[in-house]
């Protein structure tokens, strides 16, 4: 008898944590409730909640609830939830993750199921391709940010140089950078933006083809790598890599030490320069062209629909409605008809609408593979990092050999 109380307490201690593992049964009548996982920050989450509230009020087919996962742990939590059969119904995916999730059967194939609700032709190919895997569409991009060149217009005037008109090549870019370099100031700086792959694309090469074939060691790609290496390590045109890393490229541009930098079209460069101690006129130019192709990089992210959603019709309706609603948000929309809206989102970009529009037309992403993150690590560690830093100042030797070694490792990853 006297042991009953402690026994009961101990039993309760056992049961309570287990009980806490349970969840509320979703037995409510009415439309299905879909969870939307995002990496929005606090302000963005509030704005997005308002968008979801508007959608919920406008129809009776579904209800949407936001689940905010901090950016740093977004994919870890997402993957753990999926592995635990607790996948959110809709979630954001950066472009490099789409093939892996599609390949593992996590995503709903949208091919032929959303065209009535959303104009896919309004997406430039460079925006929609990263959401397409093996010819099937797995996501609807909600943001697209083509890379452009920001330049210090005052420095151009000071050096008596004509401002770029969008028809320049990388060779001309390098000459301009040299003319803008003096004892303490540099024409250009980079620590990895734009991606080195951009130079390969411009020369007609690639790292991986759309079919998944590794071609990083092709002649055209090696020509692009040599161009990237030459520009990044030209001390008469480009800030030395170590200095660029310690100073930060954007900081060096804002304080006038660097005259040209590459960034996303929606980056808040103009405001930072205006608020700096020594403001200057900022210009924006389309990325220089390679000898074969005029192209720029496009960072995109998509909203996808989990394959675990049983009411697919309601899920598809929620996905397309949400995508439309997000085009009206403050982000740069990835569709041709809305590119000009960047001036509404950020009036300081009004001067560059034409440049952004042109950049969106020539923008593309990587041919991402299911093993993209692992490939990215290999590419950075073995190829791009050494190219940008000239092998930490020791040189990189024959770039064809470096590319061949990288290709061998990449093929090993792809073929595994």
């Amino acid at each position: 008898m006297r042991h009953r109380l402690p026994t009961a307490v101990a039993a309760l201690a056992l049961v309570l944590p287990l009980a806490a593992c349970g969840g509320d049964a979703d037995a409510e009548d009415g439309p299905p409730t879909f969870t939307v996982a995002t990496w929005a920050n606090e302000t963005e989450a509030d704005e997005l909640d308002a968008i979801l509230d508007g959608l919920n009020d406008a129809q009776d087919t579904y209800r949407l609830e936001q689940m905010v996962i901090p950016g740093g742990e977004y994919y870890t939590k997402l993957q753990t939830m999926i592995a635990g059969r607790q996948a959110p119904d809709l979630f954001w995916l950066s472009q490099e993750y789409v093939p892996a999730y599609a390949d593992n059967g996590t995503l709903t194939d949208l091919t032929g199921r959303v065209e009535d609700a959303i104009d896919l032709d309004d997406y430039p190919p460079g925006s929609l391709d990263p959401a397409t895997v093996g010819g099937a569409l797995y996501g609807l991009p909600w943001i697209g940010q083509p890379y452009v060149v920001y330049y210090n217009a005052d420095r151009f005037a000071e050096a008596d140089l004509a401002e770029p008109d969008g028809t320049w090549t990388w060779t001309e870019f390098r000459e301009v950078a040299r003319a803008l370099t003096d004892g303490t100031r540099y024409g250009y700086a980079t620590t990895g933006t734009p991606p080195v792959a951009l130079f390969a694309w411009g020369e007609g090469g690639d790292y991986v083809t759309a079919d998944g074939e590794v071609v990083v060691d092709s002649d055209a790609t090696v020509a692009g790598l040599e161009l990237a290496h030459a520009i990044a390590n030209d001390a008469t045109a480009t800030m030395p890599q170590g200095l660029a890393q310690s100073r930060g490229v954007e900081s060096a541009f804002v304080d006038g030490t660097v005259a040209m930098m590459v960034g996303g079209a929606a980056d808040d460069i103009e405001r930072k320069v205006a608020e700096s101690g020594d403001p200057f006129e900022v210009g924006m130019a389309v990325m220089p062209a390679g000898s074969v192709e005029h192209v720029t990089f496009n960072w995109t992210a998509s909203t996808v629909l989990s394959a675990t959603v049983t009411d697919t019709e309601a899920g598809l309706a929620a996905l397309t409605d949400l995508t439309h609603a997000m085009f009206d948000w403050k982000i740069p929309a990835p569709v041709s008809s809305r590119v000009g809206d960047i001036a509404d989102v950020n009036p300081q970009k009004a001067y560059a609408v034409d440049v952004v529009t042109r950049s969106a037309e020539i923008a593309r992403g990587f041919h991402n593979q299911p093993q993209q993150n692992e490939l990215g690590s290999v590419i950075w560690e073995q190829l791009e990092g050494p190219i940008l830093s000239d092998g930490d100042g020791r040189g990189v030797g024959d770039l064809a050999d470096l590319a061949a070694a990288t290709a061998a490792k990449m093929r090993e990853v792809v073929d595994r």
Partner: protein
């Protein structure tokens, strides 16, 4: 030889005079003894129930995951898909995985540099704080504070401190006309940066050294002084030998801590793969490269390596144990 008679049992003293037992009392006492002597079914102690939550939690969150991890290490599991059997393929792949060995090398280099330096720093601080200075408690608290701050918070703070453009360190260097390095963006400076962070957190070990220093008998130091020993000789021949067990403890914990480095490395990173410590590499392999099976194999190899290194240190534990035998040797 014990007396088997029930009435031969000692009674509790009842006072100055012994009371004679009644027949009823003797019978009751005999019955009690018989019951005590007879084999009976023992009831389980409620203590087991009290500790059961710990065992359940250990089984659920440690033992079962460990066993599952061992099974996973024999599969190819992309986390968000189904596992496929791979046998020992992960382990054979590991043997020729340059990235794995590089991350192990990064971790070992960090351990070799930071553990002795951290121990020396903690011991030095402890010796300073073992003196009679004003505000001693405040200093001890300040030096111990880093030990109670979460690793992620530490990483975030140091990311700002070491930021090449807007960081505290490079800002201070720029104020005196020195261009600071890219602490975490220049591969050559990554290991020194992490060592600096580790030294900042050396206060955790300080506390144990303080306890050990207080246990060093003062008379030994005084005797050594009388025999002409200076500060250094007293430290080397008296204080440190008597502190061997605590030095050994901190060495073992330091080695394990260095191998387990993750939180601040996850936040800080490091150029050229120099911040890619083994635990971080395992995490990335599992959750960024979608190779949970391969990461599990890495974890088991990692466990074996840590056990081997720790075992090696224990192999020489005699050196770390102060005894007359050591003295004679």
């Amino acid at each position: 030889m014990p007396d088997p008679r029930p009435d031969a049992l000692p009674d509790a003293p009842t006072g100055p005079t012994r009371r004679t037992r009644t027949a009823h009392e003797r019978a009751t006492r005999a019955a009690e003894l018989a019951a005590a002597a007879a084999p009976r079914r023992r009831r389980p102690s409620p203590a087991y129930l009290y500790i059961a939550p710990w065992f359940v939690a250990f089984a659920l969150f440690a033992l079962v995951p460990m066993v599952m991890s061992l099974v996973m290490s024999l599969t190819d599991w992309p986390v968000i898909g189904s596992p496929t059997w791979r046998g020992l393929g992960n382990f054979t792949e590991l043997a020729r995985d340059a990235q794995f060995w590089k991350s192990l090398w990064v971790t070992v280099r960090f351990g070799v540099v930071s553990v002795p330096l951290g121990m020396a720093a903690a011991l030095t601080v402890a010796m300073v704080l073992n003196s009679n200075i004003r505000g001693l408690s405040l200093y001890r608290t300040i030096y111990y504070l880093p030990a109670v701050v979460s690793g992620v918070a530490v990483g975030l703070i140091w990311r700002w401190v070491l930021d090449p453009a807007a960081g505290l360190v490079n800002g201070a260097l720029a104020a005196v006309g020195v261009q600071g390095p890219g602490w975490l963006t220049d591969p050559a400076w990554v290991l020194p940066s992490y060592t600096m962070v580790a030294l900042w957190g050396a206060g955790g070990g300080m506390l144990t050294y303080l306890v050990a220093l207080n246990e060093v008998p003062r008379d030994l130091g005084e005797a050594a002084t009388l025999q002409g020993a200076g500060w250094w000789a007293r430290l080397w021949f008296v204080t440190l030998p008597l502190m061997r067990p605590i030095l050994f403890y901190n060495l073992v914990m330091g080695i394990i801590g260095a191998f387990k480095k993750f939180n601040d490395a996850y936040v800080l990173g490091g150029a050229g793969g120099e911040g890619n410590f083994l635990m971080l590499h395992i995490y990335r392999t599992a959750f960024e490269h979608f190779r949970m099976g391969y990461a599990s194999a890495m974890s088991w190899v990692f466990l074996v390596i840590v056990l081997a290194v720790t075992g090696l240190v224990f192999r020489f534990s005699d050196f770390w144990t102060f005894s007359r035998g050591n003295e004679e040797r």
